[in-house]
Each structure stands twice: as C-alpha cells, then as structure tokens.
Subunit: 440 residues, 4 copies
C-alpha cells in the first residue's frame, strides 16, 4: 500500500527555521519517500530547494545554509517535487499539499480555456493557479473549497506568513503545534516531538488559518456536513507516536489487537509476534490482552533502505523480502499468532507465513487489525485497485488457504471503529464499506 | 562583451533528429555558453532535456537516446534554460528564443492582473504565456508582434510541427536550411554546414513560418517600416563561417581590415597579427590589402575552456589572460599591427599591448574593425553600459595612451557600413550612433 | 561502540556470484558501515569495485553487471576500502579481512628495511604483502600466524579459488555455508539465510581453508592454546539471527535478560521495554522470565540512516537522538524496566532515561546484559578507551545516579558466561576482566 | 597521433604553490588529456588529488584549498593517474614521469621474485618501487639509469624537496625555470611564462637534480654516449610557444615551411593555409618565404573539446571532423597551398582536402613539415604502428592520389634537421630512418 504526502510549516518570531523544518519533514518521511523539499522566506524573496530521495540523504549542509529565514514550509512526497513556486498578482509564493484532487482535469481545462497555460501536469500547480486566479490569498483558498473535489491539506508560504487549510471533510490530518514564540502546522504531531513543541489542536475540517507575526488566526471555516477522517491513518498511514483528532495512534493500534484477542479466548499459542513495522501495535495489544508471550520472529534490516522507492510491484515485493530476516531460533517448533495491519493482495503475508513454516513453525495464526478491504480508495490517496483486492476475490477461508495460515481472522468493522474510538459518522470507511462518504 | 542566445529547429520527414539538433546547437555555442537544451516530439508527447554547461560536456548518449522524434528544437543561452514546456488549450508545446523583451514587466503585470500566475521570471515563459492566451498558435505569434517591444527570433515545437518567427525589425538573425526531406531553422547558417544542409533563405523580419509535413509555409508577415539588422553580428557575434542576409561574415570582417589598411598607406610594419579569435578576419584583410606579412603573436589555449562562463568581470579578465600565450620568438624587436574587432572598456586590448611590449615588441599599432562604441545596446542584447564605454570617456588619443599603443585607429562609420555592404537604413547601428532605430 | 568489518566469499560451480555476494555483504552491513567492496574472478582477471557508503546505496546495476565470475569475495568496513588488489609472483589476487593487527608498525618497518614500499598505510595491504613475500599462498598464510599479533579473519580471492583463514585464537567469527554446488565463507551465518544456504560449520581458530572446484579443503591448522571467541559478538556485534560457534545470538541475548529477571524476583513493573535495537533480545528474555508485559516505548525511525557514519562523537550522539522517538502514550505514568546491552560512557542510556521521565514515566529501572566494561578492547576491535568507560570512574550506584535511573543492575560475569553457554576459557572476556587472553 | 605526459614541479621558499602548479599543468595539457594530478607537501604529510579529465574541468576550488604547501609536483597524462604515493624506508613520497619503460615486465618480475607485490600494473609504480629498493633517493635514481631501458623525465616530491631526472639519452624534454625564491622543473618552458618565471636551462640528459631550500643542486650526471632528443617535439608534440634545448618551437616550425617554400619556386597559389593547429607554424613559414597571401580556410571550434579523449580511432576521426568548419567564402575557386605537420595514416589530411574540394577549391597542394614516417616510435611514446603508416604502404605519389591532392611534398630529412638546427647525432630520428638511436 502506498502512502501519500506530508506537509509541514513553521513560523518563528526571530530564529532561523530551516533546521527545524528539516527535522520536521524527516519525521514525516514515512508519508512519502520519493521527493522532499523546503521553502523559506527572507530578504524579500522565497528560497526553495527540492530533492529526489530521502530527507536525510539529500539535503546538504550547504542547502540548509542557503535556506535562510524565520518562516518556511516543507514537504515529503511519493509523486512530485513540492513545494512549488508561483508568481502572481499577490507576489511570489510557495505551496505544497497532501491529498488528491479528483476533478483536476476539468479544473485545468477551465483555466486553459480562459487562456491560461501550465508548466507541469501536477495537482499542486493547479491549486496554486486556482488561488492566483482570485484577488487575495484568502479568497483563493475559499474558492478551492467550492471548486476542488477531493482531499487536501495545504500549506502556503507568502511574504506575510503561512496559510494552511484542510478540505471540508478533513480527510487528511493537519495539526497545529507551538513552543515559545513559534507556531507550526504539520501532517502529524510526531514532527512536534523532535522540536520540543506541544500539540495545540487539530486544524478543523474546512478551516483556513493564517500564521504570522500576529500569531495564529482562523480566517474562515468552510461549512461542511460531517467530517470524514481517513480511518486508515490510525490503521496504517500515520506513525504510532502521533496523535490524530485526540486519538493516539498507538492506542488505536493496540486496541485493534485487543479486540482480536477478545475473540480468541481459547488461543493457546507459544507466542504472539508482529510483521514489522505495520503489525507491531496490533501484536502488542494482542499480547497484553491475551497474556501470550511477545516474541520477535522477524528482524528488520536497518540498512535495507535504498535511496529510492522501487517503481514496480515486483521490486517492492523483492524489497519486502530483503528487508526482513527470520529469527529461526524463535520459530522452530512454535505455535505463533502473527499480527499485521491489513491485507491488500495477500502476497506479502503469504510470503511471511511461508518463511515461518520453512523455519519450522508448528502453526501460524494470522490476525489482521483492519476489516477486509473491499474497495479502492475513492479519494485516490492509496493506489490499490479493485482488481488486486484479495477480499473481493476470495472468502476469508479462501484467503487463509492461499496464504497458508492455520487460521485467519480480521477485526469486524464495529470492533475496528470501537478501537479507534470516534463516531462512525466522523470517519471515512469507504475502503471497508464500498460506500462514498456522501452515501454514509 | 557578452553574447546572447542561439536557436535551432529541425523537421525531418522520417528520421530521428536529435543527433542533428545536438550538432546544430553545438555549432551555435559561441552565441550562449551557460545553458543548453533540446526538445523533441514523438509518441504524442514532448521530450525535453536541458543542462547547465556546454553542449559537448553535458549531453550524454543516454540523453540523446531518450530524445526521440523526427522533429525538435534546441537552444544555447547565457541567461536561462530553454526550451521551456507549456501546457495550454492548444496542448503541450516547447518554446525557445533569442533576443530580449524590453516591456516584459508591463506585459507580465497585465497577465497577473487577469489572474495568471508564473512559474519563473523568464522572458521565455512570458512569451509562451502570451501565445497561450490566444486561441491558436498563429494568432498567438501575431499578438506578440503587437504587444512585445524588443528583439526576438523564436522557435516553437508543437505536435504538428515547428513555428518560427522573427521580430518586425529582424534584429537577430534567423535563417532557413534544407536537405532532401529535411527543413531547418537556425540563428546562423554554420549549423547547416555540419549537417550537409544548404541555405534556403533568411526568415524575413516580421515573418511567421510553419514547418510541417506539408513543408515550409509562410503563415503571415507582420508589416514593418524597415529592417534593422544588428550590425554587431558581422562585427563580433556571428561566427566567420556563417552568412547573414546574404553577406558572408568573413567577407565583412576581412573588409573591415582592408578599409583600415587603405588608410595606412605608409605603414611599414614587420607583421600584422590578430587578437584571437575576434580580430582574425580583420587582420587577414589588413594583411591582404597591405601586403605586410601575417604572423601569429598570441597562441590560444585549446584546453582553457571551463565548463562554465565566469560570472564576474574579474574572472572573465582572468580567463582572457589565461587563454592566450604570447609567442615571444615572433614578437621580440618587431613592429606590429595588431587587429581586433572593437573596444568596450579597453582593458583587454591594454593587456594585450602590454604583453607584446613585455615580450620585446618594438612598436604596437592597434587597428579596430568597429567605429567607437558610444552607446549601450538599447535592445538589451549586450550588457555593456554607458559607464564602462571607453569611447564615452576619452578621446581616441586618450584611449591610445591608456592602452599603451604606438598608434590607434578605428574604422569610420561609413567605412564600417561599406565593409558590410548593406544599406545603412537596413542596419541597427545604435551603439555607434547613440540613436534608436526609430530615430534613423 | 563502533563495529569493525565483515567478510564474505562465495564459490559456485557454474553460476554468476555477484548478486549473491551483494546480498551477502548487505546482510553484514551492521559490522561496518563506511565502505563496501566486491571482487570477482573471470576471464583470467580479477574485477573489483569498492564504494564509500552503504551496500544498498552505492552498488549500481552497472557495477553488478561488470563484476562477472563464478567466484568472488566481498567486504564491509568502518575503516578502509576493501578488498584490495595485489600483484605478486603468485599472480594477481584480492584480499579482505576483519580484525585488527597489533604489531603492524613493526611488520611494516621490517619490509621497508628490505626495500619494500607500500601504496597505503592500511593493515590489509600489509597482510597482502606479507603473503606475497612467501612463495605460495598457503605458506604466506601460515607465516601470518607466526608474525601477526592480533585478530583476523581473512578471505582471499585467487585465480584458483578462495583462501580463508582465522587467527589461532579465533577472536572474530568466520563460518562456512553450502548449497548445492556452492560454498561460502562469512563473518556471520545470517548472510547464508538470504541465499538459502545452510550452515556447514565454523572455520576453526588457526584453520586455513581453500575453496575451489575440488570443494572445501582444510590446508592446515595452526596450533593454538585455547580459543578466545570475542564474547561481545553475542552481546552486541553480531546480528540476533546469526549463530556463532553453535550458539544462536538471540538465545544468548534472551538468556542475558532471563538471568537479570531471575535476580529481580520482586520487580512489579508495568512493562519491560528495550532500547532498540541493542536491548531487544535482553528485554524479550526479561519479559519471558518475569511475565511482565512487553511494550515498545521507543520508535526507531526507518528513515534516519544517513549515507555515512558520522565521524565525531557529538554527531553520533545527535544521530542516536534523532533516530528514536518516544511513544509517549505508552510511557505516561508507567513503571518501566528498560533493557540495553551494555554501558560505555553512559551518555546514551542517560538520554534515554531522561526522555522517558520527560514523557511522564513514573519509574525507570535499567537492566544491562553485559557486566561493567572495565577495559578497552586490547585487540583494537572496538575504539573505546579507558578514559571514557563509566565503570572505571564510578560505582554502579554512581552510574545509576548519573543516568537518572530508579535502579540499575548489570549481569554478573558468571551469569553472563552462563547465558552464552561456552566455557569461560574459550571466550575473550578482557573488556570485563581487564586481563589479556594470555593471562587467563 | 597520441601524445604522452607532462610533468611539473615547483619549490617556493615561502608561498603556497598549488595555484601555480595548477596553471603549470594546465599549460602542459596538450601533452596528455585523460588524467591530471597534483601532490603537495606540508605539515609533515603529502597531499594528493588526481582526476580523470582536463585540469580546468576537474580541479575545484576546494581541491586547491586542500593541497597546501610551498612545494609540490603535478602531472597530465593520457595513460594513468599520476602522481602516485609510495611509502618506503625513506618515508612517504610522490612520483610522476613522462616517457615509457621498455623493459618493465622484466623489472617487475625481478621484484616479484624477491617477494615484492604491486598495487597496479603501471610503469610509475614500478619506478617508485625501484627507487624504494635502494637506501636513499639518489641511489634509487642512479639505479634507474642502470636498470631501466626507455625514455623518462621524472619528478619526485619528498619531505625535503623535489628530485628530478632525465634519462641518459634525454629523449623527453625537461627544463628548469626560476623567479625570485622559486625554482621549477617542467616538461615545457611555456608553463613558466604563465607564472612569470624565466628559463634557467634544460636539465641535461642523465642529470639528477634536487631542488630544496638550499636551491638547485646537480646530485650527479649519469654518463651517456650522445643525447637523442625526440625530433617530434619540435614538429608536433610541444607547443609553439615553448623553447627546447634552446630552439624555439615556432622557429623550427616556421623553418619547416620555409624549407618547403624554397623547393616551390614556381608555385603560384592564391593563398597558403594551415590545417589548424598542427600546420600553423609551417603555413606561416611558407607564407613568409613565398610571399603568397596567408588565409584561414578552416575554423576551429572553440567549444568542440569534450571532457575526455575518445578511445577509438573512429571517434577521434569524428572529433577531428566536428571541430573544424570550412570557411567556404575563402575557398571557392581558389588555388590553395595547405600545410600540415606530418602524415600518419593519411585519413585526416584526405578528409581535409576533400572538404576544401567540396567547398569549391580549384587546386589543393599539400605540404608536410616532417619527412615520411617509416617506423613506429621504438620508445613507445607514440602509439602508431607499422601497419597504419601510409608511407610504408604507398609511394609519395600513391599517397597524393589517395588524399586527392593536386600535389604533395614532404621535407627531406636533411631539410627537416636543418630546420630544427641541432646536429643530427643529437636527435632521435628513428621514426624517419627506421634505425634505433644505438644504430646511429
């Protein structure tokens, strides 16, 4: 399953921000691993550097030296280089976003028909041009909510400060942090931890905020029906040390495991173990609830990461294979409960079960935090298609047989929702229900 | 004196063009040495690669492999990366130009005020956006002639073929070539020689042409008063193996030397020698007319070129110093006529005279192809300013004294015009007269 | 604590080995992270490519294509590029080693005094030159055991096959693997797992082996008193999925935790957690023995790795800080048993305790797998010095106070040895006892 | 025809030398274009940086900053990276040379049989090891003259100063320069010009000198029969602004042309022109003697140089084709005397004649400075083989016909020797006579 993007912005009253932005986007790297970029403002100009590759591999000391300023934004991405620069009647600005625009072709054509031209085919240039079309930044961002269909969390750097906005459904997270004179906005709260900042609050769905020397300002709040927070953030996308809408991700993940253990009253395994990293929270929760000893059966290779994310599914499977070793000594002759977050195609969990069996495991019982995935992401955030979803093609027992497990259980949708702890009408659950949020 | 840009376009009925475009822009490298780029069209898409550095240092075999197509354009530049891509209602196109836009700020503001935004501050993006503003490419290019003040020779690659245009005054050269099924357009004819192509004719001032599978087509010709061909092309900018408006550059350059020799009836020097490369044609012409033996006194270093053009005047002076050696054996005890193209600040010729004197020259008589430079280029093509022009600050004898020459003569404006052989009302002579072309 | 080096060699009857060597040294990367290299033999020549950086970041597809052959060796290192090539009377060969030569200055001077000269100041060139000094490879390797003081595990690629040798004490591990027609030698067995190879046996201390188309051959075995296997391999250096001298590393590590738990009968903590990665085995063992729930309190950042290992202690501390996040939700209000492998200076564990306390931990009880470190490594394998050893300067309670823990316990030396399960006279325990192996 | 190498060394009493060494080897670049390198001595260590590529393209400001010291050596080469470092009983030193060792295999085997081993297969490492074999540098260099057969001019950097030596025949040039407190040694005198240094004298054949804070010292002078200065240096290899053995290269080159003109009393051509760069001196001499006007018919492309020298003959021919343009205007309808230095295979001059004819030349009369080449270089300095020599396969008229010239004349050997002006028994003329210097 592919991730998406991460955004970060930081305003400081009086100190250079680039090093903190660097650490901030580094802590969002799990949200997008192919490109990264930082833009700062100083001396009446916007400075920008973007790279292909990881934050820690690509930004040099010289880059950080060049990116001067007490305010700036950063981005990590799987798709394209961001932030991008635009020069409009409001001046020069930099913009970056996390999300996906569903009606981009139509919007782009409308502008072209009025004589506009584009330098790229990216959503982010489109967003920038839609904003530039209006007479000021606020109106530009308000128009977005009227015209753009899809999910977006935006940060925008101008000479006066940082604008940030979240789409009216609030699909993708966006959270505010503070420390002394500094204010930050981020896709995830963990970026605040490394900077010694505290969570202030989540940006609300539809809210447009402005961070400047006058502090934090809510410029407006677009009316919406009900929020639709992406449930997959707690299950997979976000990092376990982040807090989204007040719910610590680790709490949701351990709850997924607890719910699974509660249905396994008679399980008498030797050990419970995760598929790292995605199954760790679930395995810990299962262990705590069941009392079955926790053990590591896979070792993640610290040095497996490449400087790029492979493009083909074959290469990604190969990477998955390379990066985990089996700790045979812990597996031989054992009855194992193996926890993971979700099953898309089933090929990776199949390979993991096979490796455990090859290493001498007596039994492998697979437990999955998410309910079966029955639909692709209607909001284009994940790239999985109907065609590849195991749960669309096979029964649970059919999947169990294909992956070679001795048993297989998923959480029910109700247990899954309970584990997160938010009302089901405030979550986007489309990939588990097959219904769009408008149909809830 | 800085050069400007060079453009090239090639349409072939049936063969890959990239290698020929590569050689074409390589032969225009003297017109711009900081950036180079090629765009081709194939498989319903435009492919583009640009580099910082020289054509021969930066384009790799892999680049040439990726740039597939039977039609394409190329560019060399001192200022910015070209071609650039734009995506408009007419589709995706690539555009490049040679010249300078005088009213770019005003034009850019007009677009911004209508809600347009830019990805860069370059003239070439502005030209692309002005064209995109209209409903088809031809109208786009016609509008340019109405709105844009300045000099421009444009090539534009679309899915249907290549558009090319020259501003109504025809300041900068643009010439057509052909061979079998191929048609080319280039800043200079020498690019045709390396490809075995023949000169077809110059693109006329104000002419907009289209090269496609239907061959060469003049789409329209903007009305103009009289052409104003930049006289400096024959004197300095163009290469001596090019032909502009029917006048071989070497013929004009040797004529400059002949005119100077005719005024030096009593000169009894041991030898006549050029400041390479700019003074070679003039020195040859002087030698042929006077009968004084030709000799080399400076040796140009074949390996002096760096992979970039230095940014500061100091570095450029240093480069000038490094790249020439004195051949002392040919200088010691000699009375020398030293020819060069023009004097801007006078520092380089001063240094050359000093080197010859240090090597033991008995006398050094400096002869200059151009009349004194009394004004900066009003069309922004060269970067020299009033302030640095030696001829604005000193008399001819004052300059002679400063450069340490035993005598100094320039061509008169009349001799200079005669040497070129075009009517004076068809030339831009502003830098020698201080009058704009409108004031001719 | 710095690691050292890893060696790998592979002989295949009939297939290209480079991809397997690549995966082999990738799985040894934890043993040395600054340089890597591969040499293969084919077409009567040795091909070699070395890089600065990680195996996965530096070796390209083209590199792997160039390294042809059915036999080859590889290396990862913290100190210098290996393998190196030498050309001697026996022909061209490539050599690499893991270890440290104590009398290298003396040996180098002896050769210099006979008129030899060196191209570098590395131990590996010295070893290669000592071997070249003799009339054949076997005699060369035998002489090493007589002349060289120190620890070494060597692999050497010649036109006939691979020589491998382990010093008479067997300080550093070296193990043999096999699969069908292939034979491999490696610093650790985990490199075999990824290749689907099986452990054959450890190379014995003082043994010199030769792997060729005739299979595996013990050429000779240097007499030695008793082996002195580096105990630190089980405690820290080796990976937990490797097996050394028949002892699975994970077994030893979990035993360290069990021994600690057995002394903590009255411990009533909420959870036991590791300092990742070094404390994981110990924490699991403590959890299994005590029944106290296992929990993660630190999250390791998957993207923290840089493309190089920082040179200064300050940078390394910074890296340590960056790469771990605290999972606050799991820490707040909790009484925690925190396990790690060893304490050198105490600064890292101090920082970890502080972070847990800052995140709201009620109590932190530190448990350390190794006994106190009282001496530097006499064999130069680790770089720690007397001066920096916390246990040389402070009592256990003094250290506890400095690191801010509520309690601190180490394993006793006897428990530590019991946990490994080998006879104490077969281990090098110098860093815990302060006695050289000759003094055992 | 391929060139060889160039060496440079500079000792200054009190200032940093790296910038001057950089300019020095830049001015020797025509002697070797694939690799370059500089070594300096300071703070009790030797610093060295070598590159693949041209001096001006590869050395960075940072490189020059790192190469500290008031003494150093530099090198340009076609074959391998030099200087190289060796560490021997005399300490660490850097060594570089210009030339070719004929008995290197035998010498290398002698050392191998005594137990020595090499890190490369280069002549320069062999020279360094032969010197290291002795007990001090002087004895090491004396031994070279006894053992080494071939041509060599050596510079060697030690902690005490620079050693330099020229083989007993003095095949390759080596010259001393001075300025204030500085002393330099160089393959050619032109390197002194750029540094404002004066020629002191040539190093004599067989002379071993030492440059240190005590100044210049002749340590010894190996006895030799008679010098054998490579005549090809004046004809082709050296730059026309250098002086070798007191003979300015431009004087010899112009004399070659004068000798040719004296045999052409009835020549009534329109113009005399060179094949640049190699034929320039000859054409100027022909012009001065005959009175026939000098003209340029080929234009050398300033931007043709690539960052590497092509490896295949085909690529080199392509490069030759690319880098010259015909100035058609000067060629059409003209009777041309075309001068070049020598004919090896005849393919390049054939191509040049064809280009002139294609551009409309009425007649092309080729005049060659050197006598026919009848043998390869016995001293391995040039790479031409018997097989490719046109003069071995065809009569002069046969060659004329093949190259398409209207007439073809070479200088006679006597005229060639007279033009240089040294006694024939002091020159190596083997490639024109087919006799080794021992057979003179």
């Amino acid at each position: 399953m592919e991730e998406n993007c991460g955004v970060f912005g930081l305003f400081s009253a009086d100190k250079q921000v680039v090093k903190d932005i660097y650490y901030g986007i580094f802590k969002l790297q799990h949200r997008g691993q192919r490109y990264c970029g930082i833009a700062t403002y100083s001396s009446a100009d916007i400075h920008i550097i973007t790279h292909k590759g990881f934050v820690r591999h690509t930004f040099t000391e010289e880059d950080l030296h060049l990116l001067k300023g007490a305010v700036g934004i950063g981005h990590v991405s799987l798709k394209d280089r961001q932030p991008v620069i635009l020069i409009s009647r409001m001046g020069k600005f930099a913009i970056a976003f996390s999300g996906n625009i569903l009606n981009s072709i139509k919007l782009r054509n409308q502008l072209k028909n009025e004589g506009h031209s584009f330098s790229s085919e990216t959503d982010i240039e489109l967003l920038g041009k839609l904003i530039s079309y209006e007479k000021d930044f606020l109106n530009g961002m308000i128009r977005l909510s009227e015209k753009v269909k899809g999910a977006y969390s935006i940060v925008m750097l101008t000479k006066d400060g940082i604008y940030a906005a979240r789409d009216p459904y609030g699909f993708k997270p966006l959270i505010l942090g503070k420390k002394d004179g500094s204010l930050a906005v981020s896709s995830e709260s963990r970026a605040f931890d490394i900077l010694g900042m505290e969570i202030l609050r989540d940006v609300e769905p539809g809210e447009i905020i402005f961070i400047s020397k006058k502090g934090l300002n809510t410029l407006t709040k677009i009316k919406n029906s009900q929020p639709a927070f992406c449930a997959f953030e707690w299950a997979y996308t976000a990092s376990i040390d982040s807090v989204i809408e007040g719910i610590p991700v680790i709490r949701a993940r351990e709850n997924f495991g607890k719910k699974l253990a509660e249905k396994d009253k008679n399980m008498s395994a030797d050990l419970v173990a995760p598929v790292p990293f995605s199954g760790i929270g679930c395995a810990l929760g299962y262990h705590h609830s069941s009392g079955i000893p926790y053990e590591e059966v896979f070792l993640i290779d610290r040095f497996a990461s490449r400087s790029y994310t492979p493009l083909t599914q074959e290469s990604r499977d190969e990477e998955a294979r390379i990066k985990l070793s089996v700790i045979k000594e812990n597996v031989r002759g054992k009855k194992i409960v193996l926890c993971d977050d979700s099953i898309v195609r089933g090929t990776q969990i199949q390979f993991k079960v096979m490796e455990l069996k090859n290493a001498g495991a007596k039994e492998v019982h697979v437990r999955i935090a998410c309910p079966p995935l029955v639909a692709p992401c209607f909001y284009g955030i994940s790239t999985r298609s109907y065609r590849e979803l195991a749960a669309k093609k096979f029964s649970v027992d059919g999947i169990r047989e294909r992956i070679g497990a001795d048993s297989l259980k998923y959480n029910t949708l109700d247990d899954f929702i309970d584990a997160i702890g938010l009302h089901k009408d405030h979550l986007c659950l489309s990939c588990f229900t097959g219904k769009r949020v408008e149909e809830r």
